[in-house]
Symmetry: C2
Subunit: 391 residues, 2 copies
């Protein structure tokens, strides 16, 4: 690209940002007590700070109308009651390897949480017994109970083989999502080792599926493949940070943080190869090509790709009643573009895409709350905001 | 919507327009001899005026590398040689009913044109024998030969029953598209009578399919339905002004000018109901609702809808060699938004959408030329522009 062209593109980007910022009523700062109004196609929406004074929050999970769990990447798990930050985090949660994109990531509840109280965590775990200076780490999945604000009864559900721990601070994933049969899906990014996403004897660059106790479902696609991780459900996934179950079809949707121009939305099915890095619509962030192919036989096309990259993170289908026109539509969060998008889904395709919110912060997680409001976890500024219809 | 909100939206729209105009390098005027550069994701593109001094051109069809036919809505059919406007239009073409959106519309060639020389026209036709002041009209399809710049051998391939001519100046359609079997598809809009799009005893609001000589294919879906037009292939189509055949799959894609917020891209299949006006993502341009439903059993969802409406018109799959990365992608023209868009298609879904061109004029038709360039027919200013890669 020529320099004049770059300058033009920079100017363009700025203008588009200005336009969108105005579109969404922003350029304003969202501070406690001073809500911001978002003008969307269907509703005027009020965005208010629901929780702040957080430090790099990563995930939000509601236990009930009044209680929620919030993870912070540094390792803190917060039990939030009535929108109040607790004095102390949950004690005794696992030590996380805090480096780069690694740390405490997703938190999820057992589908039978009311009966069994299991809470699930995804975090980056340093190789056991590693010497000082040995920074090999990998995504690990555990569950435990929270009793008297203390993490107890921990069980390790998934961890990589020691030889597969990697000295890399990037692409840990990770989201946790249960399906209707109570099976647990979780994601691990390719840890900066793109080719390993194609290797089913490696755990990285994959969506995994396990039973809630960590055991392997007998019908997992690679249980009979020598050397494969039997938990692998799909492969060729670059850095999946969003997983959500369609409320009507039960299908598993995934958002994948891609290379430059290659963010993807995928429908995840057993045993499928989603192509990274053999096929991609993006290029490396350095500007170098990744692959000359955007499609190849035997590899899945995304449902949608974002070019330029919005830096997609969490996704959630809206299932509340406060925004009836949005029911079963997909909320998509974006870090770099600082957006919350709303996608109209029909079967395996996206009919429409709207930017609901822009430039309030990097959107790390998004959830339909039990009250029907939409909650968005922001980084920079670190907070959780609540979206409700404005009368 | 509150007034303050409307003002905000107006401001937003303006800013977005300004941003996009800058994005596409415009705000400039495209005049003969002064090309404009478009910065797209894949290419720097040069847009040059290929033909001007036209009067409301509607459609472009290439006969060979040096020869093309251009229709003007007033009724003129122009045989363009080497990019030069002829001194005289083709003589003896049918008299068109020029009113509102009606007039001479699409022009198409027989797949075996080299052997048989048939040229097909779609135009609005005034009721035969109507008295002065009786403005009932309907879309009609004819074919003929052009000999010595004169239209001869005309055959009427389709015309509505006289009782179905309507006094309305809107939603005539119309595009003509042949499939791989040599069957001819053409579109008629609902002529402002929305409910009639659901009535297969009416010709309006439909995609029709006939043999090239006007006879009815035996396997048309409604040949055995009493009172139905046997040429009907699909129904519930509001105002289809774009038809294109996928170069790999052979599937028929359609772009439908919708109500406010309800422009659609559809995959057209035999006997299907595309829902207008029973279901729609749009509302009436008056602001009144059209339907409370966006989906109903037995009716097709669009592949994509545009909200706000871009005012979609012609579509064409790019099949040339000048822009290899764009092969088999879908070019979509827009009148109101004055855009040319490029859509990445996979099976029955749209993976990505890019605005290639903005604000050069209302884009009425788009075609891959035999030379691999992209040709866009513009209204206001009336011209045809040619897009090529810029070194």
């Amino acid at each position: 690209m020529q320099k004049s062209n770059r300058a033009l593109l920079a100017r363009i980007s700025l203008l588009i940002i200005v336009a969108f910022a105005s579109a969404i009523g922003l350029g304003k700062t969202l501070a406690p007590g001073s809500p911001v109004t978002l003008d969307t196609l269907d509703y005027r929406v009020e965005a208010t700070v629901w929780l702040d004074q957080l430090k790099y929050p990563w995930a939000l999970e509601f236990i009930d109308r009044d209680t929620a769990l919030v993870s912070e990447i540094g390792g803190n798990l917060l039990l939030v009651k009535n929108g109040k930050k607790p004095d102390q985090p949950v004690a005794g949660t696992p030590a996380v390897f805090r480096s780069g994109q690694g740390g405490l990531m997703d938190v999820a509840l057992d589908p039978a949480f009311d009966r069994n109280g299991w809470v699930y965590l995804a975090y980056s775990h340093r190789l056991e017994g590693a010497k000082s200076g040995d920074n090999r780490a990998m995504t690990r999945i555990v569950r435990g109970h929270i009793r008297d604000n203390t993490w107890v009864d921990q069980e390790v559900l998934f961890e990589a083989r020691p030889e597969h721990y990697l000295d890399s601070g990037i692409h840990f994933g990770s989201r946790i999502q249960f399906d209707r049969d109570g099976l647990l899906y979780f994601s691990i990014g390719e840890r900066g080792r793109a080719q390993q996403a194609q290797d089913i004897t490696r755990p990285n660059g994959k969506i995994h599926r396990i039973h809630a106790d960590g055991s392997i479902p007998k019908d997992n696609p690679f249980v009979d493949s020598p050397g494969a991780y039997p938990s692998i459900f799909s492969y060729g996934n670059r850095n999946p940070q969003g997983l959500a179950l369609h409320p009507v079809t039960g299908a598993l949707w995934e958002a994948e943080h891609g290379p430059r121009g290659g963010d993807e939305l995928n429908l995840i099915e057993a045993g499928r190869n989603y192509g990274w890095p053999a096929i991609t619509y993006g290029i490396d962030y350095s500007g170098k090509p990744v692959s000359e192919f955007v499609s190849l036989p035997g590899m899945e096309q995304p449902v949608l790709y974002w070019r330029p990259s919005i830096a997609t993170c969490a996704i959630d289908f809206y299932t509340g009643s406060l925004f009836p026109k949005w029911r079963n539509r997909l909320l998509v969060s974006a870090l770099g573009f600082q957006e919350l998008r709303l996608l109209t889904i029909d079967r395996d395709r996206v009919l429409h895409q709207e930017i609901l919110m822009k430039d309030l912060g990097r959107v790390r997680d998004v959830k339909t709350g039990p009250d029907g409001a939409i909650y968005a976890v922001l980084n920079a500024p670190d907070s959780i905001i609540r979206l409700t219809p404005r009368e």
